[in-house]
């Protein structure tokens, strides 16, 4: 049979265009905010997720990887003695002050690693990172920060010098795609240099990271270390990542704010679809009455309304998700990241279609209740 739904939908192109713009904007809004949330979650625990260690030893009460306090380096040697520990490494993570040659100052998070580290840090790194860490005063900063940390006239380049907490630093490498939730960049350096670049002091570190042997249960090693090392918390990487994400996303209210905005976008989209379908149904009510008088069943009529809503949803989804993916690609090299994994794209399709179906229920009920004799009143 002729697709009445399709014809009705495309009959008034201006109305269709305005409806598609409205719903597509909602799809864009919800996708971007969920994507933003995912990117924030990824950034908050990026150091933990990428380091590749099984256990993190830290000062008691640490709530986030960015907010650890220093502990004695002796914890490293004690942890290495744990049965089931394959290796252990110290890691400094501390905020510090970066001063550029022209006198401007920026805050940076110093990440101190053992040269030749077995940790996967910095992740997504450019070639030559191990050598860069061994060079005198060498620091590695992310590509995307070259303009912000460069001088007014040019971007930061290899060999450029800066002052970190009154100590000389030399840029020896650039990482790629390493971002933080706070947009304060991670500056990777050797553990020895990091002691100078931060206020933690010598003989101290922020974390001790432990890798367990393949056949040893991580939890058993964690309990062993926790039972023997005084004044430290010992968390699995998963738990510490969760704690960090919870702190930044919910402790600060940022996550709740993003989720609230996404929900708001969903509500706006629902109202848009609902209004569009309802006004379209009302404008065609006499026609639906005619079809009813001609013997079309309520089920067939509601199929027309639902199909129209789903087609509108699909069309708007295509536009909205296309814009969202384009925006995500456009912002990929900036500090504002939007993650659009394939599952989110698929989920948004389901959400859009479900929203359109739910939003057309009022219209379907209106058609259901339409008395066929109303056709003589027009």
């Amino acid at each position: 049979m002729i697709s009445i739904a399709r014809r009705n939908l495309f009959h008034n192109k201006l109305r269709l265009a305005s409806a598609v713009v409205g719903i597509a904007f909602s799809v864009l809004l919800v996708t971007c905010f969920v994507g933003l949330y995912l990117a924030c979650a990824r950034h908050t625990s990026g150091l933990i997720d990428n380091a590749g260690a099984d256990l993190w030893i830290m000062s008691p009460g640490t709530q986030s990887v960015d907010l650890g306090e220093s502990i004695s380096i002796r914890r490293l040697y004690q942890a290495m003695a744990a049965p089931g520990a394959e290796w252990a490494e110290p890691l400094i993570v501390q905020f510090s002050r970066w001063r550029m040659p022209d006198g401007r100052r920026e805050v940076a998070t110093i990440v101190g690693l053992t040269p030749g580290t077995r940790l996967n840090l910095p992740w997504g790194a450019s070639a030559g990172i191990p050598e860069a860490l061994r060079q005198p005063n060498g620091v590695i900063i992310d590509e995307r920060e070259r303009r912000r940390f460069g001088s007014a006239s040019r971007k930061l380049a290899i060999g450029d010098e800066a002052e970190i907490l009154d100590s000389r630093a030399s840029v020896t490498g650039f990482s790629e795609g390493v971002g933080s939730f706070t947009t304060i960049p991670y500056v990777f350096t050797s553990h020895r240099h990091a002691e100078r670049f931060t206020l933690g002091g010598t003989g101290r570190t922020t974390f001790v990271l432990v890798k367990c042997l393949p056949n040893h249960p991580v939890e058993a090693v964690r309990q062993w270390i926790e039972g023997r090392l005084p004044n430290v918390d010992v968390l699995t990487a998963q738990k510490f990542a969760d704690l960090t994400r919870r702190y930044w996303l919910y402790g600060t209210g940022v996550g709740a704010c993003i989720i609230f905005t996404a929900v708001l976008g969903l509500i706006v989209g629902f109202i848009m679809v609902s209004q569009t379908i309802y006004s379209s149904t009302m404008s065609k009510l006499a026609e639906y009455g005619t079809l009813k008088a001609m013997g079309m069943s309520n089920v067939a009529l509601s199929r027309i309304v639902f199909t129209q809503a789903l087609m509108l949803g699909l069309l708007s989804y295509g536009v909205g998700i296309g814009l969202a993916v384009a925006l995500a690609r456009f912002t990929a090299s900036s500090n504002l990241n939007i993650d659009t994994p394939i599952w989110l794209i698929a989920l948004m399709l389901l959400v859009t279609l479900a929203t359109c179906t739910a939003a057309s229920v009022t219209s379907v009920l209106r058609v259901f209740r339409l008395p066929p004799a109303s056709v003589f009143r027009s």
Binding site: M1, I4, A286, T290, M294, G295, M296, F376
Partner: protein
């Protein structure tokens, strides 16, 4: 071609009364109407506004249930049929023509007819060919691809007639079919309806205020205050 016995009633209404609203605002629009509509005749139902013409048409077309009385179509009492069965009964027994044409504005003339054919189970190429044939019969073979907004009122009403013809229903009910037409188009449309009754054997019932239509009618029924006051043969 409808194969109907001209003497056999297509529709029989017995003791039909109908009220709208509830006491104390109850309005009785039809009172004890007895009527038989036979095949091959064009029947006019006339009367002043509010006399119950359209309500009678709605009851005959299974669009509303009478408060009292029974409606028989082809000898079958449909008064107590459930709501879910009535659409199928309408598809089988009745077709409609409306004063405002009520074509689907997003569809072409051909597609409007194809929708009606689709309800009869005719689809695809068969429906397209059937629609073209029906439009040719009402003289609109060259307007099949036009949308209602691209057609004159007379042409739109002829599309509506072609759509009604898509149903093999023996009872064709028309509500003021010439109400929006000039006299030339009105004559064409009524002649067409008359030929459907005479040549195809359909029972055509036309509700109208227009006295010019009397000359085409085989039978003229006048309603007043919900009662049949005259039921006479036409002059055609």
């Amino acid at each position: 071609m409808i194969q109907a016995n001209p003497l056999r009633p297509i529709a029989r209404l017995r003791g039909i009364s109908h009220c709208f609203g509830r006491p104390p605002h109850r309005l009785e629009v039809l009172r004890d109407v007895e009527l038989s509509i036979v095949a091959g005749e064009m029947t006019l139902i006339m009367g002043p506004s509010g006399s119950g013409k359209t309500t009678l048409l709605s009851i005959m077309g299974l669009l509303i249930r009478p408060t009292h009385g029974t409606v028989e179509l082809h000898g079958c009492d449909l008064t107590e049929w459930s709501e879910s069965k009535l659409p199928a009964a309408r598809r089988t027994h009745v077709s409609f023509i409306f004063q405002a044409f009520n074509l689907l504005s997003a569809l072409t003339a051909s597609e409007n007819v194809q929708v009606a054919l689709g309800l009869q189970g005719v689809d695809g190429q068969d429906a397209a060919r059937g629609a073209d044939d029906l439009l040719a019969r009402v003289g609109l073979g060259d307007r099949a691809g036009h949308k209602p907004s691209q057609l004159s009122c007379g042409q739109q009403q002829r599309v509506a007639i072609a759509r009604a013809l898509a149903s093999p229903a023996p009872l064709l009910l028309a509500d003021e079919p010439t109400g929006n037409l000039d006299s030339s188009n009105a004559n064409d449309v009524v002649s067409l309806l008359q030929s459907l009754a005479r040549q195809e054997g359909r029972a055509v019932v036309v509700v109208t205020h227009d006295p010019r239509l009397e000359k085409f009618a085989d039978r003229i029924i006048c309603l007043e205050d919900g009662r049949v006051v005259t039921d006479r043969r036409g002059i055609s």
